[in-house]
C-alpha cells in the first residue's frame, strides 16, 4: 500500500506509456482518482489535467468517483446468462432496492460487468471485491446479508 501519490510516481519514468499503469495503481490504492491527485500526475507527465481525466474516464477499472461502501458486480457474459445471471440480478435489485447502473445512492451500487473469463465457474457475483462462483438465485440474499 502507498500513502501518497508521490510514492507511486517515484516508481515510474515520466513517459506517456506509464500514464495508464500509474492511474491503475492510483485507483487500486486510493479507491478512486480525485482531482488533486490527478493534477499531480498531470504535472509529473507534463500534460493537461484534462488529458489525465480523458484517459481515466475511458477505462472500466479506473474510478473517478468515490465508490459506495457496498458494490455488487454481476457478470453478464453469455455463459453466465445461460446460468441465471439475470435472475440473480433481479434478486439483488429487489433485495437492495437499487437498480443496476444507478449511482445516485451513496450507500450501495449494483453494476453489470462484462465477461471476466471465469466462464466455467459461472455465474459470477463480486461483492466488494470478493468473488463468488456458481451462485444460485436462492443463495443471493444469504450472501448479501453479511455485507449490510
Amino acid at each position: 500500500m502507498y500513502k501518497t501519490v508521490e510514492k507511486i510516481l517515484l516508481e515510474f519514468d515520466p513517459e506517456p506509456r506509464n500514464i495508464l499503469p500509474v492511474l491503475n495503481k492510483l485507483s487500486a490504492n486510493f479507491g478512486f482518482i480525485n482531482e488533486g491527485e490527478a493534477q499531480k500526475v498531470a504535472d509529473y507527465f507534463s500534460v493537461n489535467l484534462t488529458k489525465i481525466y480523458e484517459t481515466a474516464s475511458f477505462y472500466d477499472l479506473l474510478q473517478t468517483k468515490k465508490e459506495p461502501p457496498l458494490v455488487v458486480k454481476i457478470c453478464s457474459g453469455g455463459n453466465c446468462a445461460t446460468e441465471n445471471a439475470f435472475k440473480i440480478l433481479g434478486v439483488c435489485e429487489r433485495f437492495l432496492g437499487v437498480k443496476a447502473g444507478d449511482d445516485f445512492n451513496p450507500k450501495k451500487k449494483i453494476e453489470i460487468v462484462s465477461c471476466l473469463g471465469k466462464c466455467a465457474e459461472g455465474p459470477i457475483m463480486i461483492v466488494n471485491g470478493k468473488i463468488f462462483e456458481k451462485v444460485k438465485p436462492e443463495k443471493v440474499s444469504e450472501i448479501l446479508e453479511k455485507y449490510i
Partner: protein, 416 residues
C-alpha cells in the same frame, strides 16, 4: 493417431512457477536451435518456415502470421516493437488466460523467437486488467528467464538483446483491437485509429510494431523445432494447426480443449462431454458475444478460418444454449455488452448499441411497439455497414441471427 497437442501438452504436469520444469520438458530448445542456425544477415528462412506452416492469427480475424511477420521484417527502422495481445475479454473465451497461468514460459519462448526474427528490442505483454494471477506468474517467469539468460542482454551469448514488460490494461474490450491497444499503451483513450497505416508500418510511437495473439505465439516454438511443413499437415487445409476451444454452457464438462482446426461443431461439443444430462440442445454460439448462432442443422459445419466459411471460428469460444434459457436474457447479455464496451468514437456504434440495448430491455418487459420492430432493422443495417471499427460491425450479428430464427419467441411475450 493420438491427439496431437502443441500448446496444452504439458499443462498440469509442470509447475508454472518453475522454469526448471519447463526446461525438463524440452523448453527453450527451439530458441537454442534458432540461435545456432541463425544467419545474421538473413532471417528469411525462419520467415519462410512460418509462411509454409500457414499459421494464422488465433485472435479472431485469422490473418496469416507469415505475411504479417514479413511486412514488419521488411520495414527499415532501427527501432521496432513487439506486442503480445493478452487483452482477452471476448465473453466466453478464456484460452489466453489459461496459457499464461499454465505455461507462461512457452509464451515467453515464442515472444523471444518472434522478436529476434523481426529485430525488436522491446516486447510488451498487454494483459487484461482483471488477470491478477496471470500477471504475477508472467512477471515471475520473466525474472526467471532473465536469470537464465534467455532474456535480457546478449541472449545465450549471441549479440541480440530483448526486454519484456508486462503492461496491464484497465478493462476495455476494444483494446483487443490492435490500433486501440497501441493507443492505450501510449497512455491515451483506447479508441481505434484509422488503418492504413497498419501497425506493421507505424504502430507504437510511430515505429513498426508486430502484434500477435498469445495463442498464435505459442505455436512458434513447435514450428521452429518441427518445421513449417509438418505444421501445415495438421488440421484443415486453409488454416492448419491446432486451436484452443473454450466450451461452455449446457455441456457436461465445460472447459478448455485443444483440437485440430477443421473439426465440426458437433465434434467440438463432444470434446466437452456432449450436452448436459436432462438438457435439450437449442442453439450454439461460436466466437463469443460477436459470434453467429448455430442451429442443429448446421452442427456439421467445420471450425476454421477462411473467407468463405459459413460460421467464422472467431476466438474459438463455443457457448451451448439449451431450451430452458430465455432468449430475452441472451439478447440483454449481448446488447448490454456492446453498449458498455462501445468506445464512443463513432456515432453509429455509440448510438446503435445503446438503442439496441433499450429495445432488448423493452422486449424483456413485453412493451415492444410497432415502431421498435421497424427500428431494429435500421439499426442492424447501420451497425453492419457504417461503423468505424469491427466492434460495431459485430455488435448486431447475434441479434440478427436470433431475430431470423426465433422471431416468434422474441416478440411473443406477455406484458409482465
Amino acid at each position: 493417431m493420438a491427439e496431437l497437442k502443441i500448446i496444452t501438452e504439458n499443462w498440469g504436469k509442470i509447475n508454472p512457477q518453475k522454469i526448471e520444469d519447463y526446461l525438463h520438458t524440452g523448453g527453450y530448445t527451439a530458441l537454442q536451435k534458432y540461435l545456432k542456425e541463425i544467419n545474421p544477415f538473413d532471417h528469411l528462412r525462419e520467415i519462410q518456415e512460418i509462411k509454409i506452416s500457414g499459421l494464422c492469427g488465433r485472435g479472431g480475424a485469422g490473418f496469416l502470421t507469415g505475411q504479417k511477420i514479413e511486412a514488419v521484417f521488411k520495414e527499415k527502422s532501427a527501432e521496432k516493437y513487439f506486442i503480445c495481445n493478452l487483452d482477452e475479454s471476448e465473453p466466453g473465451t478464456f484460452k489466453d488466460r489459461m496459457i499464461a497461468e499454465n505455461n507462461p514460459q512457452l509464451l515467453l519462448e515464442g515472444i523471444i523467437i518472434l522478436s529476434l526474427i523481426v529485430k525488436a528490442q522491446k516486447a510488451f505483454i498487454y494483459l487484461n486488467g482483471n488477470f491478477e494471477k496471470a500477471k504475477e506468474l508472467l512477471e515471475k517467469a520473466i525474472a526467471d528467464a532473465t536469470e537464465k539468460n534467455f532474456l535480457g542482454e546478449n541472449i545465450l551469448g549471441s549479440k541480440w538483446s530483448l526486454e519484456i514488460e508486462v503492461f496491464q490494461g484497465a478493462g476495455a474490450y476494444i483494446c483487443g483491437e490492435e490500433t486501440a491497444l497501441i493507443n492505450s499503451l501510449e497512455g491515451n483513450r483506447g479508441e481505434p485509429k484509422h488503418k492504413p497505416p497498419y501497425p506493421t508500418q507505424s504502430g507504437f510511437l510511430g515505429k513498426p510494431t508486430f502484434i500477435n495473439n498469445a495463442e498464435t505465439i505459442c505455436n512458434i516454438p513447435w514450428i521452429i523445432l518441427n518445421g513449417g511443413k509438418a505444421y501445415s499437415q495438421i488440421g484443415s487445409k486453409c488454416s492448419p494447426g491446432t486451436k484452443l476451444y473454450s466450451i461452455g454452457g449446457a455441456v457436461a464438462r465445460p472447459g478448455l480443449y485443444e483440437a485440430p482446426t477443421g473439426i465440426t461443431i458437433a465434434e467440438a461439443i463432444d470434446l466437452a462431454g456432449g450436452i448436459k444430462k436432462g438438457k435439450e440442445f437449442w442453439f450454439a454460439q461460436i466466437g463469443g458475444a460477436s459470434g453467429k448462432l448455430v442451429l442443429e442443422k448446421d452442427l456439421g459445419e467445420r471450425l476454421e478460418y477462411s473467407r468463405d466459411c459459413k460460421i467464422p471460428c472467431g476466438s474459438g469460444a463455443i457457448l451451448v444454449v439449451d431450451k430452458s434459457v430465455d432468449i430475452h436474457e441472451m439478447l440483454l447479455s449481448w446488447t448490454g455488452f456492446f453498449r458498455r464496451e462501445s468506445c464512443g468514437k463513432c456515432v453509429p456504434c455509440r448510438e446503435g448499441t445503446f438503442r439496441l440495448f433499450e429495445i432488448a430491455k423493452r422486449l424483456q418487459d413485453g412493451e415492444i411497439s410497432e415502431r421498435d420492430e421497424k427500428a431494429i432493422q435500421d439499426i442492424l443495417f447501420i451497425l453492419d455497414n457504417t461503423t468505424y471499427c469491427p466492434l460495431g460491425k459485430f455488435a448486431g450479428v447475434a441479434f440478427k441471427d436470433a431475430l431470423e430464427n426465433f422471431r416468434d419467441q422474441i416478440f411473443k411475450k406477455e406484458k409482465s
